[in-house]
Subunit: 347 residues, 4 copies
């Protein structure tokens, strides 16, 4: 069954195994005549790229996006926008020992069971590399939905968690820290936790918070295509994502209605925003904000017990270049998926 | 934009305003020749029905499902299964005072802004009544996906929260309590909290946990149609839902990889199940379990400040018959949506 | 696999076996705030109804449409519009002898092979009765796409075929003839042919021509969702349809480019219209016109050889009340499907 | 609105302007573990390529397909198959004079009106070049649906039309003639007509007949997703296509039911096949056959009156390298689209 497309009006279809020739995608449904800043797209891709700081994997990927169609004289044509990123710096030999071995908490096992054939040289479609195509498409979506603005940041790494809410933070500081946390003190603690974890050959999870501003009233449909339902699907479609919460989220489940209700101002805005900018599946014009939980990366640079294709258990030491914490690089991916959701409702 | 269908192969489309003639739906894609237990469908609907206990609204709804097509000699024909439930016991006069008033944290305001026309006699499509159609379709899906088994229960009401995990509980006790919590001690505390809240004219949120057993390996697609992405979408499409977490969820974000990884047994099962039964978007044969957070119901039986269509604020006292806590009645809805997701991947 | 929905933005899903409780459908995606003339909808349904003249079957079907949702104070709500038509006047005993018999050129055989279970009391989903739901939805679509105007008529019955093109005819005369042909002389010949055919217990095929006026420029997408591709799909989805041709159609295949090209006037209209109002998949503002071929009805009121479930051949005499020629009643169905296509591109 | 995808389970999405960097596509939903003959794919592409004989344009296009993903060790992975064909031999200067001019019966005008921005260097998405991507995908579909066999041929060029039916012809001769007609005498007449037409700087239309053999019983859904409805959509989505007819087609509209009905043999096959292998939207196991009408190519190599962007009419002489008759090269395209339809129902 096909499953590599996202959206119904602004549709992204992606392709590419992590260790194949290239990854990329096609955007179908982008309106015509939008002036595109191609540098801004490459910059978003650079934010996702490995090797940006000592916190993340030092694997170098050129990750240059090339556009094949849909853009003429720097403006969209209204036709499909195809793009690709060559896989230039992979080391498939790192994966030779994984040919007949299933890593714990990886997709190797289920791929083999589902398809009876897989590209063992990396995660194939389940590799985080696939998200580069989302970032490219998201960067185009961001330009298509202007002036809607999307800003994500790291709000927790392991047990180190921000207590300040998004509106108590200066989000312009996010990109000034390697860990992409706008609270500079907490950023330091997070970075230290990641480095310690990395030293042990271990990995750690974290949380990304995302804020969407300037949303017009009326996006989303009641019932199944609620705006929050699409956002939840978008986020849970990101590798390693384990949870999504909108507005008050799981905290809201503990509250009473008399506190949780967002009372109106006379202009239709609300005094509080526990709802997270969405009522009955439809944007109400207030900020949309949500949290996305990521589990720790499954690839550890320490010996682990693995299952072989022969049905035995073996201790194997992971090789390769992997992040000790995925959340700093997840920030642009969360933004990209949010932009794709909004674009799908707006265009 | 259309938004009232769920699924791509086993597709449910629903219709109906809460105070119109009827609600109902069409299931398209149900395989032929499935023997249906029609009583079991009605029983699921009864679980969702108002007025079942003193905990929930005493509003009586007959809620009898009538099938119009797709079933012949008690077996599915492979053709669309249409069904309807008449709206017999509504009191539209309860809503007369709401004609030009927008209730806080309700969808009235955004509906009016989006459509410039709405059925003010209740929530229209955003009413929880709409979920009755989901329960009917879910009950059919449950029969179509046999022997997959889906069991949900209330794991938190307000601050009263179970510390036991699903596999430490006897889920056969769930339906023996009014609050649908299989931990009988905690059930009592939850019920007490709901009754106190109700007495104050207030409401309180809660959490539903859902477990899916006997799932075949291989359901779900990598990338956008991951099994967890569809589950998240399904849950966030339920009224009042504010969050979804799979397996370790937000707790997993605090963990280290060396603890979080689910190591294999020789038969391909895993020793732990932080993953929640899904790897890389695909079921791995272990139990799938997830939590769903619900905010407190927005309708309070106490005076609240509301926005009028004229742009003024007025104190209005809510009328009507509404639940003080939605989660006991949300249990069958969560199960129904989970069944629809699984059916869509299995058929 | 689901297959009972049509459209992507203005979506019709239909249900109902010909001899079940009811047939009907749900329209999802109809814009809000459209004032609906409910009588006009019933009138369209009356045009399709059996028993209107001596030319067509004398079977009486009340065929009254009842709306269940989506309309409030005679205006659309933007929510799903559900409707149903009860099956009141069927005589299932007419079909008893068909329980284990497959009629030639009917769908009985393939249904049984595909589903291993069927409602033998009539054609089930393959019955022409199913098209009543399309006519209701088409009547709503017609109102939603105003001022686009859709007019179909019978242009051939058997060998009796109009030589005049649509723009040489007074289409306001169509409904004044029993056969729905605006050329009154030809109409008489057609009617005579149908009556003679009926007397013999035989049936005869025919052609419906459809014209769409006042189409805005720009409907349709290049490549797969061309306007003509959707029209072709729509028409070939009607029972007994064997062919579709746009503009010059199969005659165009015989022509030279120097004759076939439609040269422009200065205002962007064209001097000729061999293209049939569509260029590169997109409407160009000229009239869209196309022809739809229908085979003769398969049910004959004379003895025919049939296949039994036991694999033997038997002579059986058809019973029941069936048309000798389907095209007069196909006229409103062709219009309805055309309206659904246009609505899907316009809304 | 997106419109560049075809299919729901075996989905092709294409991209590329005729004079951009490349054209290509992504196939999503191709089952895993299918051994692919890559040469056979390139050979299909060669059949569509310009410059194969004196009958067709002498424009040389390398047209080499490159696969970027989805294939590993010559077997499909079950992941998206991305491919591209570079545009190497275009001469955009041929089109400079068309920048502000709309050619008759071309899509230039409607593209400009719809998108307010277009790639004037050729037909953009409406160019026949786009069909190369369909041929690649169709070649993969052919291998995926084995042993279903699809054979198309030219059955008419202008007024030169075969009277023999497909089952009176030796279809293995099709590719031995430049015009792709298996009736060698008629092939000569067709070729002569094309050459005379070409000499005059004119173009001529034609008809392609397609036969699908070894079709399993049960493909297709009743109502909207009938097999013939998808075939009609597929064919009408090909550039220059003006008509589709299945089995008896427009001739069937002239017939009586007593002649047209296909009576059964005891094994469930039928004695005649006016139905064209489909009953009630579902394949019945007999050969599927249909005709596709193509209009004459709109680009003439003679002076023609064109509309300018300023709203004036001017005589312009077409340049470039274009076919005098499209049907010989349409044969592999018709086969490809048929293969995509069958694959979508089979996988």
């Amino acid at each position: 069954m096909a499953g590599n497309s996202f959206g119904t009006k602004f549709v992204l279809t992606t392709f590419g195994e992590s260790h194949g020739v290239a990854i990329g995608g096609i955007i179908d449904g982008c309106p015509s005549n939008i002036k595109l800043d191609l540098n801004a797209i490459q910059e978003e891709l650079n934010r996702r790229k490995p090797g940006q700081s000592k916190l993340v994997t030092q694997r170098k990927e050129a990750d240059e996006v090339v556009f094949l169609s849909g853009i003429f004289e720097e403006k969209t044509l209204g036709t499909p926008i195809a793009f690709q990123i060559l896989n230039t710096n992979y080391k498939p030999q790192d994966y030779d020992l994984l040919k007949d071995v299933f890593r714990p908490s990886h997709a190797d096992f289920v791929y083999q069971k589902k398809h009876q054939h897989r590209d063992h040289r990396g995660g194939g479609r389940s590799s985080a590399r696939e998200t580069a195509a989302r970032v490219v498409a998201g960067a185009i979506a961001k330009q298509a939905i202007n002036p809607v603005e999307i800003k994500a940041y790291v709000s927790a790494v392991g047990e180190v968690s921000l207590s300040k809410k998004y509106n108590q933070l200066d989000l312009s500081l996010t990109e000034t820290t390697a860990v992409r946390c706008p609270d500079l003190d907490m950023a330091k603690q997070m970075e230290q936790l990641i480095l310690e974890t990395k030293k042990r050959g271990d990995t750690v999870g974290g949380v990304v918070t995302c804020v969407i501003k300037n949303v017009p009233i009326g996006l989303g449909e009641p019932v199944f295509n609620r705006l929050e339902a699409q956002l939840a699907k978008a986020m849970l479609s990101i590798n390693a994502c384990k949870g999504f919460s909108l507005g008050s989220g799981f905290e809201g489940a503990k509250m009473f209605g008399s506190t949780h209700n967002d009372y109106y101002n006379e202009d239709g805005s609300t005094k509080t925003n526990f709802s997270g900018g969405i009522q009955g599946g439809i944007s109400n014009g207030m900020d949309i904000y949500f949290e996305v939980a990521f589990k720790p990366v499954a690839t550890l640079l320490q010996p682990q017990e693995m299952l072989t294709a022969r049905g035995t258990l073996e201790i194997v030491k992971g090789k390769g270049r992997h992040d000790a914490c995925v959340v700093p690089r997840a920030v642009p991916i969360v933004e990209a998926m949010a932009a794709l959701v909004i674009a799908d409702f707006i265009v």
